[in-house]
Symmetry: C2
Subunit: 662 residues, 2 copies
């Protein structure tokens, strides 16, 4: 078991390893850009999918209804412009918040608690959706190549998510390494595809794709502005993931801000090129949306030929980057959850780092929700897209609004001045008004897109997000109120001092059977030097005399009190007994000592838990009752002939003594 | 949260309530017979499904290929004879084992550990399959009535299983009540259907059913003996559930054996009538197997007319009894698991009764496995049937073989004689050789059916069971070996006595922040009167001076030692510190005191756990380290204006004192 854990998660990291877990720009691009870049795999397709509603669908539509799908080109250009604005705005954020400034931190510092929690809720939701969407789309690429796998797409997606979870529980550095190869492989094959594609367009050798089982709509909808806006908002999924770098600046090598900003610009440039390139080629070759073959697959087929090795490599690369894109969320979700938990808006447990220096709980929670979504949506990207971008654009809007306030406040300070924790740069920044304007334009644009999205996608799924985000915000504030109230309750009456004279302590030793562990418990009780007696709960009446006899023979001192339990319950009779002791003595502590067998492996340990848990639960509500567990270790031991046997630690020590040379 | 728990699970039962949880014969029939009776809903269909392979399928087959499906009638008669033999044999078991003698106990007492564990593995597997098959078939009845629900059948099945889990966590008596109504409703509507059906046959007014979307096979298989045996073995699923009463005798009112035996005979008689009746009518009306409409639905349609209220009531009744049939497993799985756990072949936790006197763990485990199976099999009965009956018939065979040995051993004793725990009846039973012969015939017949099943269904799924059962048996023995080894290790060196002189104890108080809970911990440490000092782990360096200052002001005594934790880890630095203390003092105990905030509700408690868990886990491996949790209760309190606030128990007591009239 230990070795399986090690195989899956790697050896435990020393705490001092944390600073070495930082990553270079190329690895950073691989880790943080995969989400943004991978969205090119479905953004064009989602635009076409909406426009196809106006054609009645089908490959024949190209001939029949004129080039309605060609509207995707101006839509893609509009999206590219939006992308540029958002990139410039986020670049400003990276420098303003060198310790990592996601929408959450920017909102918290500049807009207050509520906008921050809204941004937090939006982002957490979107990280989960990123995992679900990316992996569903990745699986769709695989099933485009191997249609026989179509019925198993949900199973494949779930297995992949579990794999991602394990990889990420190992820690970010190794994830980075794992993901660098596929990201660069994808970029290589995708640019090759586009270059060959454009050459074939230029030479007039790119024929329209054939044999696609297009989605067929019985009745063509009119090509309204609303429909075009719907297509635009679907395409805006290309922007998702842009914010990843600004959240994760701390993962970069020094100088962090500069490295992160350079990576951001690289990423956005590549993203624009890929997205526009794919949309143009898709139009040239008359790609159509389909449930069985992705647009990327159609492109690969048209450019490289059906079943050619390059077609398969393109699908493999796309599938890989999509599957890996989910990793962006695995870097960001746990980090954001830990931040919010640190502020008291999520359970504190999310701030704990595991043995591999990652926020283990966050990784597990993210995986579970993503698996649930994939199962509910039947692993279909199109079913998830309407849920997706509302939250992304909500957080973009909040983040950039916060930056407007931030730039204004810093801009008004003198060089080097520090006011309310704000520190102005040493050199006066003459451009602060320009920067502020850029952020404001970004905020307005993304705000409008968010509204377009929420309105045009409302009935197909956005309503769900419109419910979930406010609900999450309410829960966050409810949690926050709880922590505040507990803190208030605990700090009540600060004048109360500890007891001057120690109270009496009555110690009970819980005895199930009398053996080596019992001796250990008695030794500890005697060490404390307080009044003690042992207690046995008689769940098996036929066993009781045996236990009493063993007690007399093996312990030979102290009193063993038997509590009857005719219905074989453990905790309740003990609780009643302790309540009677408490009633007789309204001052002293009741100190319950329980044994706890500690095994070498998880599976063995699993066979010995529960009763301590049951007792703790049953006794936790009682005042003045303190519960102690005395661990007793049982180890695997290989005897002289190599047989594996279990021995106690006392036995181990005794053997060590006897086997020593005299 | 408490009130939700109560709403779902009912109030906690007093231990003294257990004997009142016994059930009458009519309720017993409802609880234990629903599995057996409900199998009539699919047994006939599964026979037809196999025979249809030889017709090429389709309604037209009746005309084309002659009455191949009519072979179902002799097959059903053969199954009815087998059923009668098994019933007589199990009736003997009920009297021989009045405390409940499932295959497991009978095998354990007469055949030894290995056959007993094989029977246990087979039965546990089958209980899980019963839940999965019954609920899948029940959902199929619902989708026959409402074909629009077909795509959601997995979701519906999962929701139903969760519902069953909750009902059963409430306890068996109430389950009995809940299930009595549907069982009798089913019997009423089913007999009505058969009677009306036979009248219509007699009067020549029952027309063949039409409009069924039959399963179509491209190529008809030849009608070989193998195919007929396959059909026979599929139909043998009608026998599943027969053993339920003999496992659950303890749930009956006194005289238990007699009541259980009468119920068994009732059940089997009804089962034979229903199964033969359905098979005959199905043949008369030319029912055909279909993926979209069950045979029961076709029957209801042919007899009562399409969409008539009685057709819908028949489907509702069938769906209900199928959904409720799963309850048989909810009564038996946890009971058998507790038995096996008591013998040390399953984790001991399965023997613990919950607050409602049921074996909660068993119920939860059963539900989780059943849900997994339903998801994997896509909620299709036909996909699960091949996994199903091997285990059932394996346990039948083992059980009856055990009875042969038992009857032989008892038969050879003198009246009233007691040998090795066996007690002969007071009156000599002249028929023991006849009884033994009946059991032997039963064992041979069911053994043959098991082999037929395993061979004919091997490739379609029985192979899975052939792997699972031996694997489970291996796991059971591995668990058993572990418990035996631990017991052996713990009883090592029985001459070792407790320390004569108590050792030194060094007490550490873990301090995160200084508040009311800290005072409580200090009070307890002072009460023990041993050396103590406090320890603070500096995960937030900026907080450390504040904590030190608070300690000085509020506690004002003792030493607070700060352990640095530059990478914000909690458990590891503490562990290192304790290891250094242990190294300095090779004799004394290190006693770690941790606080544990106890909340009124589960959700609040969930916000405060984990760190105690982390510390316990990190320290459990250290020898001579004892961990104590000092609970501190925080309660909801409604102040004078009715506002809900959280207060500590100290505060509560203080308020109680001040608000008392002087």
């Amino acid at each position: 078991m230990q070795s399986i854990r090690r195989l899956l998660l790697g050896k435990r990291l020393q705490t001092a390893d944390l600073p070495h877990q930082s990553i270079s720009k190329p690895v950073g691009l691989a880790v943080f850009a995969s989400d943004a870049l991978s969205s090119t795999a479905y953004a064009t397709e989602e635009i076409l999918l909406i426009l196809a509603l106006a054609t009645g669908g089908g490959a024949a539509a190209w001939a029949v209804s004129g080039n309605v799908l060609g509207i995707s080109i101006p839509i893609a250009i509009a999206i590219a412009i939006l992308l540029t604005i958002v990139t410039i705005s986020y670049r400003q954020t990276i420098f303003a918040y060198p310790n990592g400034g996601g929408a959450y931190i920017v909102a918290r510092d500049n807009l207050g608690e509520t906008p921050a929690q809204i941004a937090g809720a939006a982002l957490l939701t979107d990280y989960i959706l990123t995992v679900a969407v990316s992996i569903s789309s990745g699986v769709a690429q695989i099933t485009s190549a191997f249609p026989g796998l179509l019925p198993y797409r949900v199973e494949i997606a779930v297995v992949v998510i579990v794999f991602m979870m394990v990889v990420n529980l190992r820690g970010v550095k190794e994830s980075g390494r794992v993901f660098a190869v596929p990201t660069y492989f994808f970029l290589g094959i995708m640019f090759l595809t586009l270059i060959v594609g454009f050459i074939r367009v230029a030479t007039g050798t790119l024929d329209p794709v054939t044999g696609v089982e297009a989605i067929h709509h019985e009745v063509a909808e009119p090509l309204t502005l609303f429909l075009i806006l719907r297509a635009f908002s679907s395409g805006c999924t290309a922007l998702t993931g842009i914010e990843a770098i600004s959240n994760g600046i701390q993962a970069f090598k020094e100088p962090r801000s500069r490295n992160a900003a350079i990576t951001l610009v690289w990423m956005s440039s590549i993203l624009v090129m890929l997205f526009l390139g794919i949309t143009l080629i898709a139009n040239q070759m008359h790609a159509v949306p389909s449930h069985t073959e992705t647009v990327i697959s159609q492109m690969g087929r048209a450019i490289f030929g059906e079943g050619s090795i390059l077609h398969l490599l393109l699908l493999a690369g796309t599938a890989l980057i999509l599957l890996m894109a989910a990793n962006t969320s695995y870097a960001d979700f746990p980090r954001l959850a830990a931040l919010q938990a640190g502020d008291g808006f999520l359970p504190r447990q999310l701030t704990h780092r595991g043995g591999r220096l990652v926020f283990s709980w966050g990784i597990v929670v993210l995986s579970l929700f993503a698996i649930a979504l994939v199962i509910i949506a039947d692993a279909r990207t199109t079913a998830l897209i309407p849920l997706y971008a509302v939250g992304v654009f909500l957080s973009f809007t909040i983040s950039q609004s916060g930056m407007v306030i931030h730039l204004r406040r810093v801009g008004k300070l003198k060089p080097g001045e520090v006011v309310q924790g704000l520190e102005a740069p040493m050199h006066y920044d003459a451009n602060w008004r320009l920067k502020m304007t850029i952020s404001a334009i970004g905020a307005i644009c993304t705000g409008i897109v968010m509204l377009v999205f929420a309105v045009t996608k409302f009935t197909t799924g956005a309503w769900f997000v419109v419910i979930v985000i406010p609900t999450l915000v309410l829960i966050f504030f409810r949690i926050h109120r709880h922590y505040k109230e507990v803190a208030k309750a605990l700090s009540w009456d600060t004048s109360a001092k500890p007891d001057q004279v120690g109270r009496k302590v009555q110690t009970l030793i819980l005895v199930d059977d009398v053996h080596a562990e019992t001796v250990r418990m008695v030794n500890f009780a005697k060490a404390l030097g307080e009044d003690w007696h042992a207690v046995h709960i008689g769940v098996k009446p036929e066993k009781t005399p045996v236990v009493l006899e063993k007690w007399k023979k093996r312990i030979g001192e102290g009193r063993l009190h038997v509590i009857d339990s005719p219905y074989r319950l453990l905790a309740e009779p003990l609780r009643e007994y302790i309540e009677s002791l408490l009633a007789n003595d309204p001052e002293s502590y009741i100190h319950v000592i329980m044994g706890h067998l500690v095994m070498d492996t998880y599976w063995e340990q699993a066979l010995h838990q529960n009763s301590a848990f049951i007792f703790n639960l049953a006794l936790a509500g009682l005042e003045r009752v303190v519960v102690t567990t005395v661990p007793y270790q049982i180890h695997h031991h290989h005897d002289a002939e190599g047989h594996d046997e279990l021995i106690t630690e006392d036995q181990e020590q005794a053997e060590a003594v006897t086997s020593q040379p005299k």
